[in-house]
Amino acid sequence: MKSYVLTRIGLSIPMVLIILTIVFFVLRVLPGNPVLAMLGPKAPPEVVKEMEHKMGLDKPILVQYVNYLKNIAQGKFGESTVTGMPVIKELMQKFPATLELTIFAMIVAVLIGIFYGTYAAYNLGKPIDVSARIYSIFVYSFPVFWFGLMLQLVFGVWLHWLPVSGEASPFMTPDKTYTGMYVVDAIINGQWDVLKDSLNHLILPSITLGVVISSIFVRMVRANVVLTLSQQFVVAARARGVKEKTVLFKHALKNALPPILTIMGLQFALLLGGAVLTEVTFSWPGIGSYLVSRIHARDFPAIQGTIVFFAIFVAIISILVDVINAWINPRVRY
């Protein structure tokens, strides 16, 4: 097991390194001078040169690359050219909001995926199964921003039930922040009004994101449960007179879950990056919209920092998923 874990970690290092390298060189190949974007077109040429020197942009590209790797190895992500703040500090401010949204979207997606997928498998070939397959294709092709906008219109503008932007109402933020996730902080502070408010703000964006990714889960759960339902132990359970509900959830679904969990874990990591459109639609102050705004400003340190952060995060999650999977099912270790 130990060697397996070490191998997985060892394999992740070149993956992260490749991503870092691609991001670094792509940014340098793209047109658009970050110094000009920062200082504006009116900046005198000598000031531009001075700033380029200060940022090390006048050095040969390979020297810049080596310095970049050195800094990252020391945990230095640099300072944003837009705000002048350390990128890592900005990321730490934005990350909890994205994590919170992703967790809730995941809950929505998993709940829809498990129940709809399982019932569809149980009713193979019947209308509910057909509807599940149509749902998967239909929902997968939804443009996220369109779906979000529709929810905003119906539940925000027409019915006035739910807020449509941000993660809290005015003056409804937690008094003390521990995790940066409003729901968690509100619980720790015992601020139930803040908790209710932040949950209200989470409903529409997490449903938007959750529904869109639920399509993958519905298909996956359905396929796996169909497979397990046809296996001998299910037939045996039914022959023993076990209730259908128990057969379905305790026998079939339980045995179909391990491969589903693997995909769900990876999907969770990918979701963190994929939340961009939802964040933009709902003015959600997360890392996705942060990245988009910094790409517009050619904020090299912020863009590089965010992508490195993601790469490392995705690598860690995928290692964890692999290790858990290997622990549950020793056959995967070869």
């Binding site: 003015s283 942060y290 517009h296």
Partner: protein, 508 residues
């Protein structure tokens, strides 16, 4: 299971007891302003975008300020000032007992520190001071002199722009931009700033002037016009200012739950030619294009009539404005192009550039309309190309783009700010135009040194006439301020300088 339920119930009761008091902020105590603008920095030495500067106009005060709703300059932190006969020295006397929001004194040293700091830090707006100011001399705690490199008539207007506002020398460093919460000298101070999300302003207890009408102003930042529009319809904001799409604004006008206001704006849009690049080095071609562009069509089709046509670079409503550019005349455009040898079989092939997001989502439609108008002559083939803003800046400063769309928002309210940056040999490359004309340079410098407004206006008239002949730019239209409010909001003033004064707004 039952045990677990009991435990949960106990926990809920325990937390329930510690339930905090409901927040005691009444609806009347705060106003929420929604916008799609961004805040880059609240350091006067660095701030150089609309919202950052506008927030600073509410947080800080300079030596002088504009009378709300007018372009008239009156004393701010200065009690009075004197200008030497040669126009090179400005002496200021400060009001008594001025304090920053943190209680530190606002004195002559603070001004010397602030002005020198801006020049030293070389931030984006620093040229406004560094090009003109020679040094600052402190006479005593309340008196100081600003010596200029050369006489510059609009200097007093620059002192009303945030770049000249004082910062606390005990808090701000002279070798680095400041990222913390600003120390205020104006009606409001920042209580909380969640970057990219919202800024909460509260009254500055040490402000020397009239206190702000509303105790708290919350500025909420939205990602795009759609997000702002939906939030407005959902009544999450009291005021939506900058920027809804023209169609959304028209929709809201019909909605009885909101009030709308339209006011003047000094914001202008123009076509820029790189006069060094072929075929735009030929002024006849530029002139032909000036005839071919139909501003009325752009204004009606793209902006639903919510902007007004502009025939010179100096906006309407400002002294010196002379609408000199040719009006739409397709026949004349065809005539000129034919005289240059272009025909249907041998059309003039050009590229028009635009930036898809910097000027809002109407920009692509503006570019397309101009392309169609040029092609309607039958003698031009126009290709459209776009680049994101950072790339766009890079392209125009390097002279890559021959013809492109640009906009201008003034730094100070004076015709000089609409002429010098566009037409002076030293400044026009930064606009991507590379225009140079000795006569124009002489006139522009002359106008800077004159103090009499009438004489200056005459000089600017001459410059505009030359500009119309050479056509290095085609001014297109002048913006308008559009604001949507809930019916219970009062005190919104759309002044000609486009300073949005939060401190005058209140709820009924």
């Amino acid at each position: 299971m039952k045990r677990l339920f009991k435990l949960l119930l106990l926990l809920v009761v325990a937390f329930g007891i510690s339930l905090p008091q409901a927040k005691a902020i009444s609806q009347k105590d705060y106003i929420i302003i929604g916008t799609t603008d961004k805040v880059s920095s609240l350091d006067p030495a660095k701030a150089y975008d609309y919202l950052s500067d506008n927030i600073l106009q509410n947080l800080m005060e300079g030596l002088v300020k504009y009378v709300p709703g007018t372009a008239k300059i009156v004393p701010g932190l200065a009690q009075k000032w004197e200008v030497s006969k040669d126009g090179l020295t400005y002496t200021f006397w400060l009001k008594k007992n001025l304090k920053f929001s943190n209680g530190d004194p606002i004195n002559a040293e603070a001004f010397k520190f602030s002005i020198e700091r801006v020049i030293k830090l070389k931030g984006e707006p620093s040229f406004l001071l560094s090009d003109i100011v020679k040094d600052v001399e402190v006479v005593n705690d309340r008196e100081f002199k600003i010596h200029l490199k050369y006489a510059f008539a609009p200097f007093i207007n620059i002192l009303a722009f945030p770049v000249s506002f004082p910062v606390d020398p005990k808090v701000y460093k002279d070798n680095a931009f400041y990222n913390g919460l600003p120390v205020s000298s104006g009606p409001y101070m920042v209580k909380k700033w969640v970057r990219g999300q919202q800024i909460e302003l509260v009254r500055n207890p040490n402000y020397h002037g009239e206190k702000a009408k509303t105790p708290i102003v919350l500025i909420k930042l939205y990602r795009n016009a759609n997000a702002l529009y939906i939030a407005l319809l959902n009544k999450e904001v009291d005021i939506a200012y900058r920027t809804l799409l023209p169609q959304q604004f028209n929709q809201i006008k019909k909605n009885k739950n909101f009030k709308t206001m339209i006011g003047p704006s000094p914001f202008i849009r123009e076509v820029v030619f790189n006069v060094k690049q072929k075929p735009f080095d030929n002024k006849k071609i530029r002139k032909a294009f000036a005839y071919a562009i139909n501003r009325a069509q752009i204004i009606n089709d793209v902006f639903n009539g919510q902007v007004s046509p502009l025939y010179t670079l100096i906006p309407e409503g400002m002294w010196g404005h002379k609408p000199v550019m040719p009006h739409y005349n397709q026949k004349k455009a065809i005539e000129i192009l034919k005289s240059l040898g272009y025909s249907k079989t041998n059309p003039l092939k050009i590229t028009l550039w635009y930036s898809p997001s910097h000027y809002g989502s109407t920009e692509a439609a503006v570019a397309l309309t101009i392309k169609n108008q040029l092609e309607a002559t039958g003698l031009v083939k126009c290709q459209l190309k776009s680049a994101e803003w950072a790339t766009y800046i890079d392209y125009w400063t390097k002279g890559v783009m021959g013809m492109f769309l640009l906009g201008w928002y003034p730094d100070y309210f004076d015709p000089d700010d609409y002429m010098w940056p566009f037409l002076a040999t030293s400044a026009s490359p930064q606009m991507g135009c590379f225009y140079s004309n000795k006569k124009v340079d002489e006139l522009l410098l002359k106008a800077r040194k004159l103090t009499d407004v009438k004489e200056r206006a005459k000089v600017y008239e001459q410059v505009q006439q030359i500009m119309a002949q050479d056509a290095p730019y085609i001014p297109l239209f002048q913006g308008k301020q559009r604001v949507v409010l809930k019916p219970n909001i009062e005190g919104v003033l759309l002044d000609p300088l486009q300073i949005f004064r939060y401190y005058l707004i209140r709820k009924k």
